[in-house]
């Protein structure tokens, strides 16, 4: 790949670039959104693949868990000082821990698909419709503070940490938010989870008023 020179970057037609970006966003928004049930109707072969995939991910999770345990044990008993102990432990948490969370997410998602494939929604489990309903609640409606407009975004004080200068941005087009001060945010479900310390299920139920 050719690296663009400074001159080439300056020559870019930024107006066209912004237009192309908007066009791409518009195209992504226009893509059809399918429920799990519809997806399984389109791709019925998945019904046989899902259980195998669940086993694969569980094996992967166990492997990572085992590695994390070994690393944490090594850090706990062999770290040279208090700072090393803190640093290596937290480094493992933010890297391996994140990987583990991602895998857990895959497993939960596949298990939900498996339940749908079997034609049942386990007791207490959220339905696709409930999740979609929760995702449609505008974030700005959940904020009890003045927001000012900045381009396509709304800006206000971050509800997750104390600050004097607003760094919390809400993007109504995608119904998402991000605080550039504490680097937290996401969609409306993530927002409620961070704000109230709820689980995913609790956040969805809170949003749909159940």
């Amino acid at each position: 790949m050719k690296i663009k020179t400074l001159q080439q970057i300056e020559d870019l037609d930024w107006e066209f670039y912004d237009y192309a970006l908007d066009l791409e966003k518009e195209w992504q928004r226009s893509l059809p959104r399918f429920t799990d049930k519809e997806l399984l109707e389109i791709f019925p072969e998945a019904k046989t693949i899902i259980p195998e995939k669940i086993v694969d991910w569980i094996e992967e999770r166990d492997k990572i868990l085992d590695t994390i345990k070994k690393k944490l044990t090594l850090i706990k008993y062999r770290a040279s000082d208090e700072f090393s102990r803190w640093f290596w432990r937290e480094w493992v948490k933010v890297t391996d821990g994140e990987e583990l969370l991602k895998i857990d997410g895959h497993i939960v998602r596949l298990e939900r698909l498996q339940s749908v494939a079997k034609g049942r929604t386990p007791k207490g489990r959220l339905t696709e419709e409930e999740i979609q309903q929760a995702l449609a609640v505008p974030i700005e409606n959940l904020i009890n503070q003045p927001l000012r407009k900045s381009g396509k975004a709304l800006v206000g004080l971050c509800p997750f940490h104390n600050e004097k200068h607003p760094s919390f941005y809400i993007y109504p087009e995608t119904n998402s938010c991000w605080c550039y001060g504490c680097n937290q945010g996401g969609n409306v479900i993530n927002f409620v989870r961070l704000l109230h310390g709820y689980s995913f299920k609790e956040a969805v139920k809170y949003l749909i008023g159940k």
């Binding site: 090594l74 090393s84 640093f87 937290e90 480094w91 933010v94 890297t95 001060g181």
Partner: protein
């Protein structure tokens, strides 16, 4: 994003090392920046790397612990 306990611990260590109190926000920023830097550049640390940075790294007699 680091949990509150990790930030408190970071503040305590920082105070011991540099004799300076950090505010919650500053400690959060510094600790996150430090870990994000390593995360971005190196990814997860390997067992070997952790071992090489341990207090027994120079003691050959103790290098019997099985590591990957």
């Amino acid at each position: 994003m680091l949990p509150k306990e990790a930030i408190e611990e970071f503040k305590k260590i920082y105070k011991q090392k540099f004799k300076k109190d950090l505010s919650d926000i500053e400690a959060l920023r510094r600790a996150n920046n430090l870990l994000n830097l390593y995360k971005t550049i190196y990814g997860p640390p390997t067992l070997g790397e952790i071992w090489r940075n341990s207090k027994y790294q120079k003691n050959k007699d103790l290098q019997r612990i099985e590591i990957k």
